[in-house]
Amino acid sequence: MFHGMRRKASVYGAMASVIPKIYMAYSLWFWVSLVLNVIATTIFVFFWRAVYANTNSIAGLDLQQTLNYILLAQIFAPLGNMQLIFEFGYNLREGGIAHALLRPVDFQGSYYGQYLTTMVTELVLQIPLALVVTLVFKVQWPTDPRVWVAFIVSAFLGRTVLFFFDWILACLTFYTTEVWGLGVFVDGISMFFSGRLIPLTMLPPLLLVIAGMTPFAQAFYIPISLLSGVKPLSQAPRLWLLQAIWLVALWVLSRLIFRVAVRKVTVQGG
């Protein structure tokens, strides 16, 4: 069994190792996105300073706590990136899905490996932004190693939750073969309900409840809240459990949906 697992890890690891190589094939976009991220972060900081000009606290968070959350959210933005809807759509349109299905590997497993690797690669590429933010805006990094452990576990669980959710939505493209509308809609919803723009505690009560019922918050808000101190370390085990429940439910659902949806695959052209 151990040998089998090692073999699988080697195969999926090899497939995932392609991701950083593909990122490194083009360098211009890296510099462009770094500049854009620095500009966006600067705007966020000045915006929140203006918001706090006449108040000391919003939803229980002071300016420094909010800024810290926002800056960390910018640095760790790749935790909330969704990619499968557009990827499946592209592969269906261009016919690449045929070759993807012809690999002798578990289709979902291979995509999961690549999903995690994409996140890690994008996080590594965020290091220059992290340096700029640390030097210019004085972001406060946690010093307690337990906070980092809580963050890493939570980020891993959250990313997996998001993967299964992304997968379920991507399976819809087998039926629609049109992805633009769905992709843009999900991106928009995710922007608000993941906590990438503002800490979720600042949402109106009804939206806060809705955000809590979506998997976006599991992938982004929870790990960033633990890292930034918006949520205390003592809540970590409860939050992990919640994430694990989401994970198992979405994993089962995603497997069932894929089994049905893959029967609908149409490989375009020739």
């Binding site: 073999r7 080697s10 195969v11 090899a14 497939m15 190792s17 392609v18 190589k21 593909i22 094939a25 083009y26 261009e94 016919g95 690449g96 899905i97 045929a98 070759h99 299905l101 012809l102 690999r103 002798p104 590997v105 578990d106 029967r263 695959v265 149409t266 490989v267 052209g269 020739g270």
Partner: protein, 334 residues
Amino acid sequence: MSIIQTEDLTKIYRLNQKDPGVTGAIKALVRPRHRDLVAVDQISFTVAAGEMVGYIGVNGAGKSTTIKLLTGILVPTNGKVEVLGRDPHRQRVDNARQIGVVFGQRTQLWWDLALIESLNLIAKIYEIESSRYQFLLEQFSTSLGIKELLPIPIRNMSLGQKMRAELAAALIHEPQIVYLDEPTIGLDLIVKERIRDFIKQQNREKGTTVILTTHDLGDIEELCQRVIIIDKGKLIYDGPINTIKDRFGKFRTITFETCEPITQIKLPPGAEIITPDRHSEERKLALRFDRTITTASRVAAEVMNQVEVVDFSITEPDLPSIVKQIYGGALQGD
């Protein structure tokens, strides 16, 4: 022993129907309409281990859909398909280990990676033993001439280079069956020749079963002893290529461009005029001759003795015309 079996294999696509324009788009949104397209219609055949079978038909005949059903990418609407004793869709992963596929119009290689990186990755995915992989890489580098292509990213390759790289990627794990869907499309004669030789070599040395779809009858003649012809999803011929060649391949068309309009001409036995008719003022003369009765040089010499010829060309019958004749019942009674 047959390793591929299909029985009444049928694939029906459900297509959305829209009227043109914005009104049509809105109508389709409110009341969607569909129509069924039968891409593969109750096809039954078997393929034995080591066979090289040409699977031919005009565009839209259902060739590629059949290949996708055999590989397990698509699920049949009706009927049965079995490859190496498995249901290729239900047992997709096990089936995928034993087959190789080249789709001439799309790549299985990683666009931004050097060819060697793609091949190394494929070797990992198929768990090819390291020394065996090195041996095959060396062998393929020579027979496909890809040694100098190994460090080049796929996106920088020409069509011919890409196709040789695709073949290496599809066969490096030594599959029992290889499906080649138009592997020579758009390639020049030299590359075609190299690819055909490589396929023959794999079949000869490893007993690889080859299912080949193509529009190039040259590929079929070079590689296959048997052809399956489909039209509008239906199987219309399954048998030896010699029958097709004897029946349809014996005719050639020779077209002359002449200095003067031709009013009368004497032809050798086995040749006949197609166009123009004898009273035409045209300066072009198209003849059809039977290669088993006469030769191109005899026909050309006879014509050139009688009229001044500016230019001439010889063409062989194309696939659509053969399929058309077969579909019209041309093989009945053979």
